[in-house]
């Protein structure tokens, strides 16, 4: 990933911590687990805001569930984001969550990490195989996901290590390196 210094130049305008989901709101991306997790965290710590950025066919279901759980005052929908709005969203975030049920790779956690945002990703995503400085949980394990969010928000050293080392790790993932490794493998066997 090419470093982009502008990415974390945006300031937040609320005092609370922000936890973000960014992606298509479809079954495959697991937005419903994000909502359930939000409820668990908010029960314990009301000083958090959850943001669901994106649009998709699950939107109605998600909105209904948020209303049902009574957390609408802390749970926000941005709709579909593009361009600098995405960077702005990452700039405001304290935690990025990707609870995908299945994800061939998943590039968005890398973008979050570049913006120094600690990420929580599902073990079922391809990207979880290449990352060390990310917390990995099963998509269905809302207890573990809630615990990881709470941990990042409340234990500063955890936030710092994931933020600093995570950015480093994401910046060091380069197509050139992958291609180089692939070339070596080719040369070895072909």
């Amino acid at each position: 990933m090419v470093p982009n210094p502008q990415k974390h130049a945006f300031a937040r305008n609320v005092n609370e911590k922000i936890v973000t989901f960014l992606g298509r709101v479809t079954f495959q991306k697991g937005p419903i687990y994000f909502v359930e997790t939000a409820k668990m965290v908010l029960d314990r710590d009301p000083n958090v805001r959850f943001v669901l950025a994106g649009d998709g066919d699950m939107m109605q279901v998600v909105i209904d569930r948020v209303a049902e759980l009574g957390i609408s005052d802390r749970f926000h929908f941005t709709g579909f984001l593009r361009g600098t709005d995405i960077d702005k969203m990452f700039g405001m975030s304290d935690v990025y969550v990707m609870p995908s049920i299945s994800e061939p790779f998943g590039i968005s956690p890398l973008e979050a990490m570049q913006s120094k945002v600690p990420v929580i990703i599902s073990k079922q995503s391809g990207v979880s195989e290449v990352l060390n400085y990310a917390i990995k949980v099963d998509f269905w394990d809302i207890n573990a996901m809630a615990d990881a969010i709470y941990g990042i928000l409340h234990y500063p050293s955890l936030y710092n290590i994931l933020s600093v080392k995570g950015q480093e790790e994401a910046n060091n993932l380069k197509w050139e390196d992958v291609a180089k490794r692939l070339k070596i493998i080719y040369e070895k066997y072909v």
Partner: protein, 395 residues
């Protein structure tokens, strides 16, 4: 005549259960009873009981010619008492032979010696009390958690009445000196130091099953040859071997022949006539130290560096360590026995080891009984428990 000191360490922790943030101030049961029960039983069946029986047979066979020593952490003793009392009985039987020495240790396999004197000596005192109650022994030698040692720790131990300390033969503190001599602490010259010959120990612990090693397979004959090869004219009279007891039966299952290897090795050492087994306190009457040995910074048995980075190396571990020992005053004032015990147990080296990302990128050390999927999850769980203990101690 070379003197040979066999020492085995046993340090099983009370493992923590998954403790979520919403459990804080709601539940105070921190331990994974199932895992603790299962692992204690498993280790007893695979290692402690058969190994103790083998040692007992060898002691009987060679009467006073075979000796060995153990350090058993307080947590391990309490786990045995709770889940597998026959292990305690078999140790009692070994101690009754007079050929087995139990060294001092910390109560919960604690890394308090890296914090300060009061927290460390509290651990030492509690362990002494437990050893007195359980085995009726009062140790004069000491084997710290992961053989961590420094000049300062040596001074504290000397003050607590100890005369011999077992530690690592770390090259960076030894320089041109070698482990085959007896050394002493530079400030408390009565405190003797036995240094582990870690290359020879690692030949068994790391390489016993290593097929890429040019000496594979390791046999007792070959090992005897290693010993003879390292005995130069300028070498001293000592060979110190400290191992995890779990090397027998758990790290290497019985099928690998590890028990037969040790049995045969001990047979050969006794029968060769050129080695004499000693226990750590025997050096008090036999030898005078040849020199002082400076260890200005703590050393341990960890990796090649022999430092303490495995436990307090990264920022997560340091944060957990600092937050833990901040509670020392609360611990002293509190009357909540359960919370006080939990605070002591949280000092265990294993908890910190789980948070280590020292091997994160190049994981070549496989940990036994891995419980957490990453150092971060280990940290979160630990901090959740610690926060509850903090509330419990302050009430």
């Amino acid at each position: 005549m070379k003197k040979i000191c066999f020492h085995f360490q046993i340090s099983q922790p009370f493992r923590l259960r998954t403790y979520r943030f919403f459990d804080i101030n709601e539940r105070h049961d921190y331990y994974d009873d199932y895992q603790n029960h299962y692992l204690t039983q498993r280790l007893a069946e695979r290692c402690y009981l058969p190994a103790n029986k083998m040692m007992l047979d060898l002691i009987k066979k060679y009467e006073k010619q075979f000796k060995l020593s153990f350090s058993i952490s307080g947590s391990s003793i309490n786990l045995f008492k709770q889940y597998c009392p026959e292990v305690i009985d078999s140790f009692k039987e070994l101690i009754a032979t007079g050929c087995v020495e139990i060294t001092g240790n910390t109560y919960t396999h604690s890394i308090a010696s890296l914090n300060n004197k009061t927290t460390f000596l509290e651990q030492v005192k509690l362990q002494e009390k437990l050893l007195k109650e359980t085995f009726g022994v009062k140790p004069k030698s000491f084997c710290n958690t992961e053989i961590i040692y420094s000049d300062e720790i040596g001074e504290w131990l000397s003050e607590a009445g100890y005369q011999v300390v077992l530690t690592e033969g770390a090259r960076h503190i030894l320089g041109w000196k070698n482990t085959s001599f007896l050394y002493c602490n530079p400030y408390q010259t009565d405190l003797r130091l036995l240094l582990r010959s870690y290359r020879l120990c690692d030949d068994i612990t790391l390489r016993f099953q290593d097929r890429s090693w040019d000496q594979y397979p390791l046999t007792a004959d070959k090992y005897m040859q290693f010993l003879h090869n390292t005995m130069g004219e300028s070498d001293g009279p000592l060979f110190n071997f400290f191992w995890d007891y779990e090397t027998m039966g758990e790290h290497y299952p019985a099928e690998t022949g590890i028990f037969d290897f040790f049995r045969s090795l001990i047979d050969k050492l006794v029968q060769s006539g050129s080695f004499q087994f000693i226990s750590p306190t025997d050096v008090l009457t036999m030898d005078t130290p040849v020199s002082t040995l400076h260890a200005p910074w703590p050393i341990s048995c960890s990796g090649e560096e022999k430092d303490t980075n495995e436990w307090i190396g990264n920022s997560l571990q340091q944060e957990a360590f600092n937050q833990l020992f901040k509670l020392e005053d609360l611990y002293k004032k509190s009357k909540n026995k359960e919370a006080k015990l939990a605070w002591l147990r949280l000092q265990g080296a294993d908890h910190f080891n789980f948070m280590s990302n020292k091997w994160l990128e190049h994981r070549f050390v496989k940990r036994n009984f891995e419980v957490y999927s990453s150092p971060y999850q280990a940290f979160i769980n630990y901090m959740n428990v610690l926060n509850d203990i903090k509330i419990q101690l302050s009430e």
